[in-house]
């Protein structure tokens, strides 16, 4: 156990993640709907990252990086579908796929440099 526990470890009835999950949804929706690339990417990153953190905190997953990796795959899949199928939402597809790629990089980087089981 680490010397200085985090917020949600120290306090039984607090978690920093829900507010950011809730903030990520509207930002992502606005970005994708109005086709604003940076807003869409930022919103998706915030949403997926916070959900991964929340899943880890509530111990539904053993590592946030794995959850982020799964989200990355899903986002890249949706992005590719937007770009290459009849849906033809090319620019939005690129935004979703980019968010997926950034998440994947984050997941790989995180698992390399901040492995969750290194502290037990």
């Amino acid at each position: 156990m680490n010397e200085q526990p985090g917020l949600s470890d120290q306090y039984r009835m607090a978690s920093p993640w829900p507010m950011f999950v809730a903030l990520g949804i509207p930002i992502a929706e606005l970005g994708v709907l109005f086709d604003v690339f940076p807003v869409a990417v930022a919103g998706l990153l915030l949403f997926c990252g916070s959900v991964a953190g929340l899943l880890r905190e509530s111990e539904y997953v053993s590592s946030p990086w794995l959850a982020m990796g799964v989200f990355a795959v899903v986002l890249v899949g949706i992005g590719v579908a937007f770009v290459f199928t009849d849906v033809k939402l090319v620019t939005r597809g690129y935004a979703v796929a980019t968010a997926g790629v950034v998440l994947a990089v984050g997941a790989v980087g995180g698992s390399l440099f901040l492995p969750d089981d290194a502290v037990v």
């Binding site: 156990m1 985090g6 607090a14 920093p16 709907l33 953190g53 929340l54």
Partner: protein, 586 residues
């Protein structure tokens, strides 16, 4: 220019995300999580405190009571915003012409008053009560999914900002003028008006978010009430308020996802060229069917928990148990089921198949039966009871009185031939405001007064409470009864201007609205000052419920809380229960 804008946005978003990550890294040490393999729970070595202090407590809380209070504050802010919107409209309607504000601004206020009161005040303020009290009533530690609970709340502030975005100084964005029903083709942005503007898209997105929030909350309540009850809380002795929340959550589960889907379809029609609601595609009637399949259950989503509040509070001040408890529960369930079979009564004048119309009329009339069962049960509970006319009790009685007017006018509306005459007149507006303001808001005020000692630890000012009730009762009836008469006289709804012959009734309606505003200001002053400096409640039974055997679980919890709290000196005057000393006058 556009590339510079994109670059600036990218930098802005980058800074935002880095800021979020930095804040998270500061408050949260990810390495400190107890690994799953060790069994979680109880394994935390360093700290066991419940919540951090200051603002961070409120931003990070997952405690059902805190989230209830957050919902409450959010609901009250929305109530103020929606109330100011309608005051603007009613002051404009003092004279027949559009003298104070333009017709288009009137339309914007009308649209946003409805959406604000239904989605940003009604649903959240009910969630305030259910979050705070359902876990206490069923003796659960917390909600089944505390974090989902927090997410559901935090979706509301961004949702509200999006809904109100049209009123903010944001470049070319104009407020929506679609009315809360968002009927196509107007809401699809078709035609020469300005409703293709992004302001309508933002409103739809905001509405979508509040729908997601309500759905998350509903799933949580269903799971909590079914799985988190203490052993001694059985289906047979589950309290009436939790029953209504359970039923309401079931309705939300079926109604809100449908609204969400229909809103996404509308957004796609507006932005991506689909034709779900276009004349050449699904047709405008499809929107009306989808909207009202959600919209009518929404009425019961809003009214069932307040009915639960009245069924819960009214017996406490009647000195008797709720008459026919089982039938109140059955009627709640019956209303829940029937509510999905009445939606087309909003569409009798659209030219739909008369055979369909008749069946919807039959179900709509049938829903009067369980509603009447409840009304008779409230009246028979009071019959020969030992009534204590405290402020919460007055609001409960006001609820019953106004609900009867609102309900009976609804029965007439449900009848096709009557509806064909009264459709789209002020009669309809009067009818549903009798239910929404006269009944729902009354019950919510009753709840706020009844549990004020629990969530503040203090007692409100009795005299101001009574002023609030009487002003609200008089204001409600003056405003909305005038509307009923206006409707009979043929005044169509939704207009910023009117013919001179309607002047007197419109002025009466506006005076009523101002009386309501005066009552609301008194209420806000009373709650604010009492919360800060009201007399502290000394024991867990400020209403003397033990005398009549009406003491309930949440007050027992409150009593334990007071007993375990560290005393901070007994300087302040002790509290006298509201109305206790005034029974002789009543």
């Amino acid at each position: 220019m556009q590339i510079t804008g994109q670059l600036a946005l990218t930098v802005l978003m980058g800074i935002f995300l880095v800021g979020v990550a930095a804040w998270l890294a500061r408050v949260e040490n990810w390495r400190s999580y107890t690994p799953l393999a060790s069994g979680g729970g109880g394994a935390h070595g360093t700290g066991h405190a419940e919540k951090p202090s200051g603002v961070i407590r409120w931003l990070t809380t997952v405690d059902h009571k805190d989230i209830g209070i957050l919902y409450g504050f959010f609901g009250i802010i929305s109530f103020v915003v929606g109330g100011l919107m309608v005051l603007g409209m009613r002051i404009e309607l003092f004279d027949p012409g559009a003298t104070l504000i333009s017709e288009s601004f009137y339309n914007s206020l009308l649209t946003n008053h409805g959406i604000t009161m239904l989605f940003l005040f009604g649903t959240p303020i009910i969630a305030a009560f259910s979050n705070y009290f359902v876990p206490l009533l069923i003796d659960a530690d917390d909600m089944a999914f505390p974090r989902i609970n927090a997410i559901a709340f935090w979706l509301l502030p961004p949702g509200a900002l999006l809904i109100w975005a049209g009123f903010l100084p944001l470049g070319d964005i104009v407020p929506a003028q679609t009315a809360w029903t968002l009927y196509t083709p107007l809401a699809a942005g078709v035609g020469n008006g300005n409703q293709a503007n992004a302001g309508v898209d933002l409103l739809i997105l905001g509405l979508h978010l509040t729908g997601v929030s309500a759905t998350m909350g509903a799933i949580n309540f269903i799971a909590t009430i079914i799985t988190e009850r203490a052993e001694e809380v059985t289906w047979a002795n589950l309290d009436i308020f939790s029953w209504t929340i359970l039923t309401q959550s079931g309705l939300i589960l079926f109604a809100f996802p449908l609204l969400g889907s229909a809103l996404v379809m509308l957004l796609l029609d507006r932005n991506l060229g689909t034709t779900f609601f276009a004349v050449e595609g699904g047709g405008p009637m499809l929107w009306q069917h989808l909207f009202w399949f959600f919209g009518h259950p929404e009425v019961y989503i809003l009214v069932l928990p307040p009915m639960g509040l009245v069924s819960y509070i009214l017996p406490r001040f009647s000195g008797r148990r709720l008459f026919g408890f089982k039938f109140v529960v059955y009627s709640t369930l019956a209303i829940g089921v029937l509510s999905f079979g009445v939606w087309a009564h909003h569409m009798f004048t659209t030219g739909m198949d008369p055979r369909l119309r008749a069946s919807f009329m039959a179900v709509s009339l049938a829903i009067a039966i369980p509603s009447a069962v409840k009304t008779f049960n409230w009246i028979t509970t009071m019959w020969n009871g030992k009534l204590e006319l405290t402020t919460p009790m007055l609001f409960c009685i006001g609820f019953v009185a106004n609900f009867i007017v609102g309900g009976v006018t609804g029965v007439f509306n449900a009848s096709i031939p009557v509806d064909l005459i009264l459709h789209d007149t002020y009669y309809v507006v009067g009818h549903f405001h009798y239910v929404i303001m006269g009944a729902i808001a009354f019950a919510l005020f009753a709840g706020m007064y009844y549990w004020f000692p629990i969530y503040t630890g203090r007692m409100y000012q009795r005299r101001l409470g009574k002023w609030h009730f009487w002003l609200t009762m008089i204001g409600t009836n003056l405003t909305f009864f005038s509307m009923l008469i206006l409707g009979y006289a043929g005044m169509p709804r939704r207009y910023a201007t009117y013919l001179p012959q309607f002047s007197t009734l419109h002025q009466l309606t506006s005076v009523g609205a101002l009386i309501l505003a005066a009552g609301t200001i008194i209420w806000a002053y009373n709650f604010a000052t009492s919360w800060i400096e009201g007399p502290k409640v000394q024991d867990g039974d400020p209403w003397n419920l033990e005398e009549t055997g009406m003491h309930t679980a949440e007050w027992e919890w409150f009593d334990r809380k007071i007993e375990t709290a560290v005393t901070d000196g007994g300087e302040e005057e002790s509290v006298v229960a509201d109305g206790g000393g005034e029974r002789d006058d009543a």
